[in-house]
């Protein structure tokens, strides 16, 4: 509002103003002190000034004044500050009070005690046009210098205010940016975050660490790895893959999906028995939408190998599943895939639950979901499960209870470390190997961890499972930042603003 004219303020056009300077009576003849141009309303069609009646009681200047004291009009009005001027030609005609628009009060007492009603008290933004509108006398040197000084002051204050406003805005934006960054930093500082898939934040974190994940990055162009949220079909993108094929990795070649089964050898070290009685499992084309989604959570060598539980689960999902085509969100697809992998990997020798695999995974035996259809509990204790716990268990990010106790499971505890909501973990009386890692601190809600009667080795890490243990510092930092911004806003900026307006008012009142 400060930089734009109020509606209803009539500005004299420049050409008519110049014409008025010619036709206007000599300074001091008609009005002793003011010989200003008048707005266009006071001209007739020939450009002559029409004087109907003159009230020398008071003149309200309602024009815009430029810094050099000249009249301005038209588009240049946006660069100056509209000002009201009040004159009292009776008593002290040389003193005028210029008050900026925003610092106006409703009524102003003149020197002689006359009460002038200020135009800003009219709420309709169009104050009644004063009888005569005058600008400053260009011949009055004192008045001109005063105008330039006060206009300079005004500009300085405006700039100052602008700077402060900008600083506050920048501070707020920084707060908004810094807050999630610091939170994520706090998460990154915890030792478990290396297993999180940073390339796909919208999807459940990948459970693969280290070389496997990097190999996944290396094998596929970033357009696939970072393909985001919906089931994006990476059609055409595999053409970019062969650029990196020359890497001496032991990954399967990218010659094409049809050549995949030939390039693999069975790996008896993985502990997986031959999963299917079928001789030739179906191959899944890489252009399938499911593959595009699951690239982000599973290394491609496992996903496209039909002899791994991952590949078998994928081929089953593509070929036979009736649930996945109904899923649109990658979260749902990933959960379906993870549960299928669990079923394939653990129930393979004892396919009692296979008949139930066609159902929604929330209706499987021993599986409990919440209202959002997220798997929260898996109760498969004493089910004669065999096989290695797949890393895809870590994709069930909403899992709160895992009970696979008293089975014949192998593998490590690594899939547990990305289950941040896990509260109860019953894994006792299995054949788990490996160590207990400090990454368990990622499971902040863990209250029951039963891993007895296994073959775990190593030392017991110095776990810190206090509620909000190490992240409390981060939260404190964020809270302090917020409090600081609040204090800055309330106790620094606002008094500054008030004092600016007060100083403005005082400065203009003294001039």
């Amino acid at each position: 509002m400060m930089f734009s004219n109020k509606r209803g303020v009539r500005l004299p056009s420049p050409d008519k103003g110049q014409g008025a300077a010619r036709d206007y009576p000599e300074p001091g003849s008609l009005f002793p002190q003011y010989s200003d141009p008048v707005p266009d309303d006071e001209y007739n069609n020939e450009g002559e000034f029409v004087v109907d009646h003159i009230n020398d009681e008071e003149f309200i200047d309602f024009t815009n004044v430029m810094s050099d004291g000249k009249l301005m009009a038209g588009s240049a009005a946006a660069t100056t500050t509209p000002q009201f001027k009040m004159f009292s030609t009776k008593k002290t005609p040389t003193t005028d009070k210029t008050i900026p628009l925003h610092a106006q009060t409703d009524e102003t007492m003149s020197d002689d005690g006359t009460r002038y009603t200020h135009p800003s008290e009219f709420p309709c933004m169009s104050p009644p046009r004063p009888k005569y509108i005058y600008s400053h006398d260009p011949n009055n040197q004192n008045n001109e210098t005063a105008i330039t000084e006060e206009d300079k002051l005004t500009k300085v204050w405006i700039k100052y205010r602008l700077c402060i406003l900008l600083a506050i805005l920048v501070a707020l934006v920084l707060m908004i940016i810094v807050l999630p960054i610091s939170v994520s930093k706090g998460k990154a500082n915890s030792k478990c975050s290396s297993s999180l898939n940073k390339a796909s934040p919208t999807i459940a974190p990948s459970v693969y660490t280290g070389n496997a994940y990097e190999a996944n990055i290396d094998m596929f162009p970033p357009s696939i790895i970072q393909a985001q949220p919906t089931a994006s079909v990476p059609i055409g993108t595999p053409s970019a893959a062969p650029v990196r094929l020359s890497k001496p990795t032991n990954k399967p070649s990218d010659m094409g999906p049809t050549t995949f089964p030939t390039s693999f050898t069975m790996e008896p070290t993985s502990g997986q028995p031959t999963p299917l009685p079928t001789t030739q499992p179906p191959t899944v084309p890489r252009q399938h939408p499911l593959v595009g989604v699951l690239y982000q959570v599973t290394p491609a060598d496992k996903l496209l190998n039909p002899f791994t539980p991952q590949g078998e689960a994928l081929s089953w999902l593509v070929a036979a599943d009736k649930q996945v085509p109904n899923f649109r969100a990658p979260e749902r697809i990933v959960q379906r895939y993870a549960m299928t992998v669990l079923d394939v990997a653990l129930h393979a020798p004892n396919p009692r639950l296979w008949s139930a695999r066609y159902l929604h995974e929330c209706k499987w035996a021993g599986v409990t979901c919440n209202d959002q259809k997220h798997v929260t509990e898996i109760n498969w204790a004493r089910q004669e499960l065999q096989g290695t716990i797949p890393a895809e268990l870590g994709l069930l990010s909403h899992l709160e209870k895992l009970d696979v106790a008293q089975n014949n499971l192998k593998g490590t505890l690594d899939p547990l470390y990305s289950l941040t909501k896990l509260k109860h973990a019953y894994l006792f009386e299995n054949y788990l190997t490996g160590t207990l890692s400090e990454k368990l601190e990622n499971c902040r809600n863990m209250t029951r961890l039963f891993i007895g009667h296994n073959d775990l080795t190593g030392t017991i890490p110095a776990l810190d499972l206090r509620p909000l243990g190490r992240s409390s510092a981060t939260i404190l930092y964020c809270c302090s930042l917020l409090a600081f911004s609040l204090v800055l806003t309330c106790f620094v900026w606002f008094p500054f603003y008030i004092s600016f307006t007060m100083i403005n008012r005082m400065v203009y009142a003294s001039l």
Binding site: F428, M446, I451, N454, L456, G458, I460, A462, L463, G469
Partner: protein
């Protein structure tokens, strides 16, 4: 519940398992001494404590006396310094 494994080393005194009510490290190969602050800061809300069948040395810390006055219900510290496995 880390019992019946092959964990080695000592019980870290900087561990903080404030939510744990059951702590079972029995039948492992833990060595060293039982940390003094085990009952105060490591597992302050402990109710079941199993330290048996390890290779701990030294003495039972004084804080265990205070544990007995609290909510502790069960301590299995038999053969505390015995060498098993």
């Amino acid at each position: 519940m880390l019992h019946y494994n092959r964990f080695t080393g000592t019980l870290p005194s900087t561990m903080a398992l404030t939510m744990m009510t059951v702590f079972d490290v029995s039948w492992n190969s833990l060595t060293g001494t039982i940390p003094d602050n085990l009952a105060t800061s490591v597992i302050p809300n402990i109710r079941h404590l199993h330290l048996d069948h390890n290779r701990f040395t030294g003495t039972i810390p004084q804080s265990f006396v205070d544990l007995g006055k609290g909510r502790l219900r069960y301590v299995h510290a038999l053969e505390l310094s015995c060498v098993r496995r």
